[in-house]
Amino acid sequence: MPQAIVEFDSVNFGYTTSPILEEVNFALEPQEAVCIVGPNGSGKTTLLKLMLGLITPSSGSIQIFGKAPIEARKHIGYVPQHILYDPLFPITVLEVVLMARLGKSYFGWRRRAEDLAAAERALDDVGLQGLEEQSFQTLSGGQKQRVLIARALACEPELLLLDEPTANLDLAVEFQLVETLMRHRKNMTLVMVSHDLDFVSKVVEKVLCVNRRVAVHRTGTLSEKVIQETYGPGLRIIRHDEHCHHD
């Protein structure tokens, strides 16, 4: 059996005395694609932050590539839900994406050719080629999201974490994102937080249903009962006709 990429063993976490996550146990294998679903405040983003080592569990252990999360960060690409930055910040699209390469070239102004090539490839991947010198502040919400995805791809990660990647995207761009992620499936393990179950069903084979505790289901076995157990009994599920999809 291959070594697990992500391994949670009896993890508990709470910002205060009341727990957000309780007895979380799961393991992800190489090249697996999983989605974290659950209602607001159920601990989805907390789960990602634990994987990134931005917060530490109250008890239990987390191993990423067999190491503590902080030591494994260089193998991880991360797309946040949103970033807090000065809206007038003078920075170009290329400069944002090149931040992914900071661990490799640190001092001075010069850009290495291989860093530039990785940034260009990542921008091509998200369909933003030609916008390298465009000011980041002038982009639409969806374009900014794609730049952040390109930044994560330019890290050339073995584990890609995405926090609600489709939140600001229209259907056409979402479709493009599905294609991009499918292309990279062979090279990396994907973990994404999403409420978009349609998107989830296209990209991933496993779903982590989070509501304080974590239950792992295969996408094919994700029944209405499971979704209602995760989101609560007030949820109404409406199935769309297949023709409503993006073709």
């Binding site: 960060r73 910040f89 931040m99």
Partner: protein
């Protein structure tokens, strides 16, 4: 204007020349550090550091004249207080779950109170106004060397650490995830801000230093596309405000510090108003799309 130029070129009157050279040199540090202060949105932290300086000055003056330690220098006290305030604010904002704005307010006012209290207890007369509002016309040749040295230090750090400082100002969490010592870089940025403020307080004083640190960078931020462009533009604007303010104050017999700050403030308001007008005009002239 003629009077200003005449005095500037008069070899027997070095005070105005020194003031202008000091202002032009200071603009380099103001423009570079100010750009980081504005984009990282730490203007209030810089304000608290500036006001804490009075506490350091007051304690140093008290030790010098009351305790009798002659070697103690008020600017040394200012530097210690500024670095202490910068590190305290930086560490609290990074590690403690304390309300940052409350701590900023507390340091801001406690620093001033400590300074005024110690100055009041110091034997002889010390005018706190000279520290609060500064006087660029009292700058000596030694100060010019000090400011030039600061420029070299600040410019060197800004060039060597351009990429990591850009990253922590834009998205500190991502910088941390890429393995940068983001917290250390943030503390370094605060210490750079503290040193810049201390050395430049001589020019415009504790109260007005924040205006020259932030207004040129804020104006430049409306025009620049990249961080280095914002820095360069902020340096040029700061040079313009200091030269313009100095000549206006000399011609109209006004205090130099407030004149520079008012000039910078007026241009800032004009840029904001002009920017909004241009945006509105563009949206009106754009052809309406048919439904």
């Amino acid at each position: 204007m003629i009077d200003f130029l005449h005095t500037l070129l008069n070899p027997d009157l070095p005070f105005l020349r020194n003031a202008l050279i000091a202002g032009l040199l200071a603009s380099i540090a103001f423009g570079m550090v100010g750009t980081y202060v504005v984009t990282r949105r730490i203007t209030y932290i810089a304000g608290a550091i500036a006001h804490c300086i009075l506490g350091g000055i007051g304690i140093a003056l008290y030790i010098k004249y009351k305790v009798g330690l002659e070697w103690v220098n008020p600017m040394g006290g200012a530097l210690c207080a500024a670095i202490f305030a910068a590190l305290l604010l930086g560490l609290v904002s990074q590690y403690a779950h304390e309300r940052e704005d409350t701590l900023i307010g507390a340091l801001w006012t406690v620093g001033m109170a400590v300074g005024l209290l110690f100055i009041a207890q110091t034997p002889g007369y010390v005018d706190p106004m000279s520290y609060l509002f500064g006087n660029i016309l009292l700058i000596g040749t030694q100060d010019l060397w000090l400011i030039a040295g600061l420029d070299i230090l600040i410019a060197g750090l800004c060039i060597a650490l351009y990429k990591p400082l850009l990253a922590i100002c834009f998205d500190e969490t991502f910088a941390l995830l890429r393995g940068l010592p983001a917290r250390g870089l943030y503390l370094l940025l605060l210490v750079m801000t503290a040193i810049t403020i201390v050395l430049l307080v001589r020019l415009v004083g504790i109260i007005l230093v924040i205006a020259l640190l932030t207004l040129p960078a804020a104006i430049a931020g409306h025009m620049a596309k990249k961080l280095w462009q914002m820095m360069a533009l902020a340096i040029l604007l700061c040079m313009g405000f200091i030269t313009g303010g100095l000549s206006l104050s000399y011609e109209l017999n006004l205090p130099s510090g407030p004149t520079m700050v008012l000039l910078a403030g007026a241009i800032y308001l004009l840029v904001i108003a002009g920017g909004r007008y241009i945006k509105k005009a563009k949206s009106f002239s754009r052809p309406q799309k048919r439904a």
